[in-house]
């Protein structure tokens, strides 16, 4: 390993100074590296090791079983169901949040104080914890005393038990999640919009281009990078969905909303099968790794 590859190495110190640099460099790094090694690298390795065992979270039963967990995973309909639900959830929520964020950003990218206030409103729900959000929405969606049920009764409709209904539970979780997170992509898009030089719009205005044409030919292309970023961030985030189904539907009705993270949680902490749970974790890791790689490739291509 040579240091010359580090670009801003500028003036290379020698001898004693170099020794001092090495010492102080690692001294500055040591506190973080300690935590990093103990609480990230080691558990990651341990997780891989655990996935090769029958390993119980309670008591001290551990037995090496090679790849048997992976083999069982392959045959496990619950795993595939959870995988399907996770992908489904991410595949609906990530694009929806992106589009919603984009629409809001376009509508609110104005100079007025009112615009600022409205931006604040849409972003505000982002700062709540998942437990607050699910509490609020469990109540909103409650068939007996919920906000929506009240509204439906007022117009003479029969309230729907959204969270207990096979067809409604997933959409209900998606809507809840959108309410929670959409402010974030909005803010990213707004940041992106700020960076489009005003001259471009000025020129378009002189050309008397229509609103739609400006949007399609100038604004959207300029937001391509931001869009990619948003989609990736959102996808990664929603692949990790956990709190909403755990607290709102417990994965039901009939397993229809149980995502992978909940499967990991339950397999380990309810069924005590931590080895198997680690196996599912490894799969989740691989999935998210792929998304990240994809982003890397895409942004590289675009950069060329």
């Amino acid at each position: 390993m040579t240091v010359t590859s580090v670009q801003d190495a500028g003036s290379r110190p020698h001898g004693l100074a170099r020794y001092r640099d090495a010492l102080s460099g690692y001294a500055f790094l040591a506190p973080f590296l300690a935590f990093y090694a103990v609480f990230l690298l080691y558990p990651f390795g341990l997780g891989l090791w655990m996935s090769l065992h029958d390993w119980e979270i309670v008591g001290d039963y551990r037995e090496f079983i090679g790849l048997l967990n992976y083999q069982e995973l392959w045959d496990d309909p619950y795993f595939w169901e959870a995988l399907k639900r996770t992908l489904q959830f991410a595949a609906i929520t990530a694009p929806a949040a992106t589009v919603l964020g984009l629409v809001l950003a376009l509508a609110l990218n104005g100079p007025l104080r009112l615009h600022g206030a409205l931006r604040a409103v849409f972003f505000a729900s982002n700062i709540f914890s998942v437990t607050v959000v699910t509490l609020v929405w469990s109540m909103v969606l409650n068939p007996d005393r919920g906000l929506i049920a009240n509204g439906m009764r007022a117009v003479g409709l029969e309230p729907i038990a959204f969270l207990a209904d096979q067809d409604w539970a997933m959409p209900a979780l998606v809507v809840t999640t959108l309410w929670w997170v959409a402010g974030f992509p909005m803010a990213l898009f707004l940041a992106g919009l700020q960076q489009i030089p005003p001259e471009v719009y000025e020129a378009a205005r002189l050309d008397n281009a229509s609103r739609w044409a400006v949007l399609r030919r100038i604004t959207l292309p300029a937001l391509a990078r931001t869009t990619l970023l948003v989609v990736v961030l959102q996808t990664v985030m929603h692949l990790q969905v956990f709190g909403q189904p755990l607290l709102m539907t417990r994965g039901g009705p009939a397993n229809s909303t149980r995502p992978l993270v909940q499967l990991i949680y339950e397999t380990s902490f309810r069924d005590w099968r931590s080895g198997y749970a680690s196996t599912v974790s490894v799969v989740l890791f691989v999935m998210m790794f792929c998304v990240a790689l994809l982003q890397f490739r895409l942004s590289r291509q675009e950069g060329d």
Partner: protein, 441 residues
């Protein structure tokens, strides 16, 4: 705000914030389900005022805290039933187990084979809990390897809670004018049709949304046919057996014909029964006290409440049952004072076994079972056979995981119309992978 309620509140807050209470007390933590009603029963120590599981256990704890001479404070942590075992095992796994925990008999093997609970035989002898007084089925339930591992608290099982008026109206009565229950699956369906035709009401109310109730009924029917869900060695699942298929079929026929509403959750099913919309509620012994109290209310739509043993549809008498038991989880740093305090509380609970039986559960002490006050409780004479036909799950180590998957799969047959064969095949496969560890051990 009166001083009387303010004071304990402040104490609680102080205790919560880690302040040292004035009195040097031995504080022990009690981990339980049964619901939370600390507000409703704050400061109540009069057992006659308590109704239902939550009320009675809460008042028992209050009473113990107020009256024990050793300065013991039992700190209750009530956890919702649905997540109770997750929380308990998280605490045990995190090496911070509570001092006392409630548990089902069916779950005990999980903890016992891993050495996670204290053996209690010797301790019981010391504090004066008479093990010989436990009825045999209860004693056997908490015994393994010649040791006693828990204090049995009750025997509870499924019952059919009956609205007698609807049976009379439908003409489904025996020669004494009492509700007549079916003796075969065909008769059950005929009765249900009659009920619907003559009264316009549903025959059954079953909590069916993410609830174990239908699964317990299913188990009862499997056992009534002489079948079981695991083999004798508890190594292989038998979920695709003909008994299993038949039991699931019957449940689905009932739902499909509208004799039970598949959309009912626990509250809704109970409500349907209490408001006279369903003739039979399938629920446990724990409901008796509450429904009897409801029926005494003059405004209640349920006027003529009676209780029946699980009807035998297939020839062999059996009904799903389980026990609530109290265990002392093994502590990583044993504390003699806390152990003694916990045992004192267990003794207290055992002494008040009768009060717990007021919920509708069957007491576990022979002396209580035979007592006059027991016989004086309402409706008890209506389900005397239950104690003898009660059947528990075989002692499977991974009972939680197995039951959860079974509940999920069975429910999906009526909730999302999953084909019954597929649900059973999935259950069988998942159960085998769970039992695999039992085979190795």
């Amino acid at each position: 705000m009166t001083m009387k309620t303010l004071l304990p509140a402040t104490m609680l807050l102080a205790a919560a914030l880690g302040a040292t209470p004035a009195r040097a007390a031995t504080e022990i933590s009690l981990f339980r389900f049964f619901g939370g009603c600390s507000d409703e029963y704050a400061n109540v120590t009069d057992l006659s005022k308590a109704v239902g599981e939550c009320g009675i256990i809460q008042v028992l704890a209050n009473k113990f805290n107020a009256e024990n001479k050793d300065g013991i404070v039992v700190k209750t942590q009530s956890v919702e039933w649905g997540v109770y075992y997750d929380r308990l095992s998280a605490n045990v796994a995190g090496r911070t187990p509570p001092d006392i925990a409630v548990m089902h008999r069916s779950v005990l093997p999980n903890y016992q084979v891993r050495g996670l609970v204290e053996p209690l035989g010797k301790h019981f002898a010391t504090v004066g809990v008479d093990v010989a007084d436990f009825v045999p089925v209860a004693r056997e339930g908490v015994s393994a390897n010649g040791e006693i591992w828990a204090l049995p608290f009750d025997l509870h099982s499924l019952l059919w809670h009956v609205n007698a008026d609807l049976f009379v109206k439908a003409g489904l009565v025996d020669e004494k004018g009492q509700p007549k229950l079916p003796g075969s699956p065909e008769e059950l369906l005929r009765h249900a049709e009659t009920m619907k035709a003559r009264t316009g009401k549903a025959y059954l109310a079953i909590p069916s949304q993410a609830d174990p109730m239908p699964t317990w009924q299913y188990l009862s029917w499997v056992w009534q046919q002489g079948g079981n869900i695991v083999d004798a060695e508890k190594r292989e699942a038998l979920l695709e057996s003909k008994e299993s298929r038949e039991a699931l079929r019957l449940l689905n026929v009932l739902y499909a014909a509208g004799h039970a509403n598949r959309k009912h959750d626990y509250t809704a099913a109970q409500q349907a029964f209490l408001s006279g919309e369903a003739a039979v509620l399938i629920n446990g012994t724990w409901g008796v006290d509450v429904y009897a109290a409801q029926a005494r209310n003059p405004n209640s739509a349920l006027k003529n409440y009676v209780v029946r043993d699980m009807p035998n549809l297939y020839g062999k008498e059996a009904v799903w049952s389980d026990s609530h038991i109290w265990v002392l989880p093994k502590q990583s740093k044993p504390d003699a004072a806390k152990l003694k305090a916990a045992l004192t509380f267990l003794k207290f609970l055992n002494d008040h076994n009768f009060h717990w039986a007021r919920t509708g559960h069957l007491p576990v002490r022979a002396s209580v079972l035979a007592s006059a006050e027991m016989r004086a409780l309402p409706h008890r004479s209506e389900y005397t056979r239950t104690a003898t036909i009660a059947t528990g799950l075989p002692p499977i180590q991974y009972q939680r995981a197995l039951m959860d998957l079974l509940i999920n799969e069975l429910n999906s047959t009526w909730l999302i119309n999953k084909p019954q064969d597929k649900a059973l095949a999935n259950s069988q496969r998942a159960a085998s992978s769970i039992l695999r560890r039992s085979r190795r051990r």
